[in-house]
């Protein structure tokens, strides 16, 4: 499988700052959520996306708001990159009425269909099938929308991966399968869970293109995603994109992060920070100035401060809304 470096991307300043802004938005929201978790403000699970921001952002850079994303348990980043408001995502984790799922979902059940975020999920696997089904809808309705499944290395040994990718392949559905290979499923190393740790290579088994990219290089991800999204949108069928990355926080907040990996390894990956990396390259290439970068940073500080305040001060849902929306209108 070829490895894309992202070197050849012609970025406008506006596009570059969007990538930076979105990665920073995710990073700072996650950090604020992690602190809130430690303060006991988040009643349930909180799986952060810290370290993996380049993948959601590099992919969503090529999606329209009517394209759809089916995300995972580690889905805050996908939600934000797809356009979910930070304050409503944060409020959801706080269990508030103003959250994206009105407090009935939490971290693993974020739904913002208005911007194409078709759900994060508490079950590993089904989102791959659902993304395939959205591709089926788009093909049947003859729209040019694209569907994306994000999933971890842990999902690729699940039957849903095999069944979903195969169906998308045989019917040439407009789907992009994005594997975020962060090398662990909870504490299980990927090379324990499979004999072949090259995820992109599996594409060959289904007769579709597969590509491995440096998942900490947003330009590389973006370049690979662009090709995959265009291919899907133009009727060329599905592709598999594997981003090699690493989560630099524990599997979930409050969990231990030792015993299965070393501090040295974590630190080494922290040095490969996708955000710092992009900043350096933008400055080097003269695509953005330090002032522009500082302005983005300042903007994000304000977004997160506002989101946190909103999450803290929003009301809890009314108890009598607990059993609403079990059935539809008709």
């Amino acid at each position: 499988m070829s490895v894309v470096t992202g070197g050849g991307l012609d970025l406008t300043t506006e596009q570059a700052l969007w990538l930076l802004r979105e990665m920073l938005r995710i990073r700072r929201v996650e950090e604020a959520l992690a602190r809130s978790y430690a303060q006991g403000l988040i009643p349930g699970a909180c799986h952060t996306y810290v370290g993996q921001e380049a993948i959601a952002v590099g992919v969503c850079a090529h999606l329209r708001s009517d394209d759809v994303v089916f995300s995972t348990h580690r889905g805050h980043g996908h939600a934000l990159a797809k356009g979910a408001p930070a304050r409503e995502v944060m409020a959801e984790l706080f269990g508030k009425a103003t959250g994206v799922s009105k407090g009935r979902g939490g971290s693993m059940h974020l739904f913002v269909p208005e911007v194409g975020l078709m759900g994060t999920t508490g079950i590993v696997g089904p989102n791959i099938l659902q993304a395939t089904g959205a591709g089926y809808s788009f093909q049947l309705m003859k729209t040019d929308q694209v569907s994306v499944a994000f999933f971890g290395d842990g999902a690729v040994n699940n039957g849903a991966f095999h069944e979903g990718v195969n169906m998308a392949a045989i019917w040439a559905l407009p789907v992009v399968f994005v594997c975020e290979n962060n090398q662990f499923a909870t504490e299980v190393p990927f090379d324990y869970a499979t004999r072949n740790t090259d995820v992109a290579e599996r594409a060959r088994a289904y007769g579709i293109p597969g590509v491995t990219v440096d998942g900490n290089d947003v330009l590389a991800v973006s370049e690979a995603a662009q090709a995959a999204v265009e291919r899907a949108r133009s009727g060329g069928g599905p592709s598999l994109v594997e981003g090699r990355t690493y989560r630099t926080r524990p599997h979930a907040e409050g969990m231990r992060d030792g015993g299965y990996r070393t501090v040295e390894e974590i630190d080494a990956w922290k040095q490969r920070d996708p955000i710092a990396d992009l900043e350096v390259r933008l400055l080097d290439r003269g695509i953005a100035t330090q002032e522009q970068i500082d302005a983005v940073r300042q903007e994000i500080e304000e977004v997160v401060a506002d989101g946190l305040e909103f999450a803290k001060t929003s009301p809890y849902p009314e108890p009598d809304t607990a059993a609403l929306h079990i059935y539809g209108a008709s």
Binding site: F111, P113, G133, N166
Partner: protein
């Protein structure tokens, strides 16, 4: 919505089989709504293992009659995503036993997505296929399982027993926004019955039981293939001057408590006849509802008659031994009257 009048003399009625009537419903709705598509194994050119889609492939083509690989979890999960994004899938799973491979998709996804999305997504998916004991189908092709799904918030579960209901309830399923488990007892597929003309466009609402035989002395609530057997047993008892009212539950979820309670208020006695297993089953549910809401109306304890609590065996002799017969139902009716 139109309420079914089961014994009326209506004009233009046609005699159709159950399967033909259901197929007519599917055809009419597919014609009406280009977003309906069907997936399953052999439902394309072949027309379905049970002729559920016979002739539709020629009319609607491969995108709307989509033959799948043997991936029950896969295509049910796929159709979940399709239903979330504007189309209306019909999953033709042949036997409900097969769909169990997608149990997690059904329970965790299909039943919960409207809720999880705070009502911003709909889940208009129809899951249809065979249930029931018969034809030496043996243990992997005879399951009923409906109480499992009725137990869960989010599902509609129906077991139509007549061609008219098969058509009218499938049409209802294909117009609503909820996931529907549409279960067809295999012994009823070739049953014939009167079906209103196409122009009638009859939709039979969920949550309504049908009175198949009026009576005054005891109420029998029956499900699926047990309905007709119960009516026959009731006819026999009628010759002895005992008039049993037979209700066809037909909608498992939501369940028509009102009709059951009204009947029990009239008769004072209740027997639930269900081929499916007894523990935690429909009889337990119905009996609890009646105990809670009509205890004072009861002249005798509620009785349940169920299939034997075992996986379904193959040999006709063994299969017979676990299936409820008309004689057993008759005996249960006599026992109830003797209480």
């Amino acid at each position: 919505m139109v309420t079914a009048v089961q014994n009326g003399t209506e004009t233009g009625m046609r005699e159709l089989t159950y399967t033909t009537a259901a197929r007519e419903a599917l055809d009419e709705e597919m014609e009406r709504n280009p977003r309906i598509f069907v997936v399953g194994e052999g439902i394309g050119e072949r027309g379905g293992n049970f002729n559920t889609t016979l002739g539709l492939y020629e009319k609607y083509g491969p995108e709307r009659l989509r033959d799948t690989p043997i991936v029950e979890r896969g295509f049910i999960g796929m159709c979940t995503g399709a239903a979330m994004t504007g189309t209306r899938p019909v999953v033709d799973f042949m036997f409900l036993d097969f769909a169990l491979d997608a149990f997690g998709e059904m329970v965790n996804q299909i039943a919960k997505i409207q809720y999880m999305s705070s009502g911003r997504l709909e889940m208009p998916i129809v899951l249809r296929g065979c249930i029931g004991i018969g034809g030496s189908s043996a243990t992997h092709h005879s399951g009923n399982y409906y109480p499992i799904f009725a137990h869960l918030p989010g599902f509609r579960v129906v077991v139509p027993t007549t061609p008219r209901d098969a058509k009218g309830m499938l049409k209802t399923a294909l117009r609503g926004s909820d996931p529907v488990l549409f279960l067809e007892h295999k012994l009823l597929l070739n049953a014939k019955g009167e079906v209103p003309p196409v122009e009638a466009d009859e939709l039979i609402p969920f949550g309504t039981a049908a009175i198949r035989r009026p009576g005054t002395d005891a109420t029998v609530v029956a499900i699926g293939a047990m309905v007709d057997k119960s009516v026959q047993a009731a006819e026999q008892l009628s010759q002895e001057g005992v008039e049993i009212e037979v209700l066809d539950l037909r909608s498992i979820a939501p369940m028509d408590e009102e009709t059951i309670l009204a009947s029990v208020a009239k008769t004072g006695r209740l027997l639930v006849v269900d081929e499916d297993f007894q523990p935690c089953g429909m009889g337990a549910e119905i009996s609890a509802v009646v105990m809670e809401k009509a205890f004072d109306e009861l002249d005798a304890p509620v009785q349940r008659l169920n299939g034997v609590f075992t996986p379904v065996p193959y040999s006709p002799v063994l299969e017979n031994a676990v299936t409820l017969s008309r004689e057993q139902i008759l005996q249960a009716m006599r026992d109830l009257m003797a209480e």
